[in-house]
Amino acid sequence: MVRSATFMDRIATMDEFLARALAGGIPLALVAGPFGCFVVWRRMAYFGDTLAHAALLGVVLGALLNVDFGIGIAVTSLAVALLLAFGQRRGPLASDTILGILSHGALAVGLVLLALMHDARINLMGWLLGDILALDWSDVGVLWAGGAVLLALLASQWRPLVAVVVDEDLAAVEGHNVQRARLVLMLLVALVVAGAMKVVGVLLVTALLVIPAATARRFARTPEQMAALAALLGALAVALGLAGSWRFDTPSGPSVVVAALLLFGAAQVVGRR
């Protein structure tokens, strides 16, 4: 840490940092909630982890090829989703085995490449744990616009996606395109993870997807209720986490996840079933 004038500037403008973090974190949570429901229903938590690990490779490749980090992350995330879909259809290996290969393979390649790039200016801790306070206003704009597009796509595919969760054969007989729905879901989750990387980091992305959705399950009577509630709970966790981070000077990403965890714990105590 370089304690310089810029650090003092940060103190002076902390209100704006906080506002920006909140403005970037809220749309992410609103998107992660509904997609997190599908991660829970379809048991895709390990898929989320894999995407996050591969995203680090995306960051390194972005630096290597001198393109935007976001593009590098999006490309590797989509590549992982497509490789998984391909591997599931072709090979004899179980999904979690394929994910284990992709996840840790991508992470290891990313770390080796990073070590070989002597002049790389990559803040590894920032990517591992996220740095919501480093968001600038253009990042915030991208999060809102991208989030709106992702939610619109999810809404347009909602019926086939829920039908596939209920039963794939039944969905197919009822005229839904099951293969397309599965692929669409994987690609959209990949983009959500890519968007969440900068905010909560590699290690905690899946938590933002899974914990609010799991909390919402106790109170929801329909899939739509669960998705909406997960979005609100995620947004609440972002607000509480950032407030806690500011108050106790703790890292922002982990603080948001701890807030989500506290909400989950509280729901177990008061929730009905």
Partner: protein, 244 residues
């Protein structure tokens, strides 16, 4: 005879070098009930999936009538417990009343018993106003009293609404009376035809054993009593029970 709703012609299907179905043909007519019976591993569920288009045959053809709407009730639905679903979403009131499940409307699907689940799934299938119902073991997990009721309901759907029914069952007792045609399957069609004819067929007797087959006399459900909600039945159909 009318155009069949669905016709499978000389279907062959193998997986990993293992023949699952060889040269199987059958057709379902409107308003008629065709039941496929056979031992475990006979390829019954595979046959249904081929009929539904969920699997493609290696050879042979599946012809469906133009614009055919199929209602499907899978063998057992292993519902994801984290998905909150109300029964209401699965079938509107009228359809649920018809299958005798109107009272579970407010419940969550995850909290239904096996028998209630089968009824709700049937109501869901009926909501699509199907021409053809494909039922894979429709009375799995249903008690004896409920089984007869469900078969009566399926028969009524065929007789009154003209729905064609393709049904799979290994429980021959109750099936025989409610069905117009039986296909006895053991990877190939052993025998087929009217239930009365099939039950005397040597291949059928060989497959199920003459002793078992003798006990599977055609059962006719008697409408002289109500099945109470507590599951009590006044009459148990034993092995020597031959109803006129």
């Amino acid at each position: 005879m009318a155009e069949p709703l669905i016709a499978l012609e000389r279907i062959c299907f193998a997986r990993s070098g293992q023949t699952i179905l060889a040269d199987v043909s059958l057709a379902v007519q409107p308003g008629r009930i065709l039941t496929v019976v056979g031992p475990n591993g006979a390829g019954k569920s595979t046959l249904v999936k081929l009929a539904l288009g969920l699997l493609r045959p290696d050879s042979g053809s599946v012809r469906r009538g133009p614009g055919l709407v199929i209602g499907y009730v899978p063998q057992s639905l292993s519902l994801e417990p984290t998905l909150p679903l109300s029964v209401r979403r699965h079938g509107q009131e009228a359809a649920l009343d018809r299958v005798g499940a109107g009272h579970v409307l407010a419940r969550q699907v995850a909290h239904l018993s096996g028998g209630e689940m089968q009824r709700v799934m049937l109501a869901r299938a009926l909501l699509r106003r199907p021409h053809l119902l494909a039922l894979d073991e429709p009375v799995g997990g249903v008690d004896m009293a409920g089984q007869a009721e469900l078969y009566d309901l399926i028969a009524a759907l065929a007789r009154q609404d003209g729905v064609g029914v393709l049904m799979v069952s290994h429980d021959l007792h109750v099936v025989m009376a409610a069905t117009d045609e039986v296909v006895c399957l053991n990877r190939h069609v052993c025998c087929a035809g009217h239930p009365e004819a099939v039950k005397g067929h040597p291949e059928y007797l060989a497959l199920f054993g003459s002793k078992v087959a003798a006990s599977l006399a055609v059962y006719t459900h008697m409408h002289d009593h109500e099945h109470l909600a507590d599951g009590s039945v006044g009459h148990i159909h034993g092995p020597d029970c031959h109803h006129g």
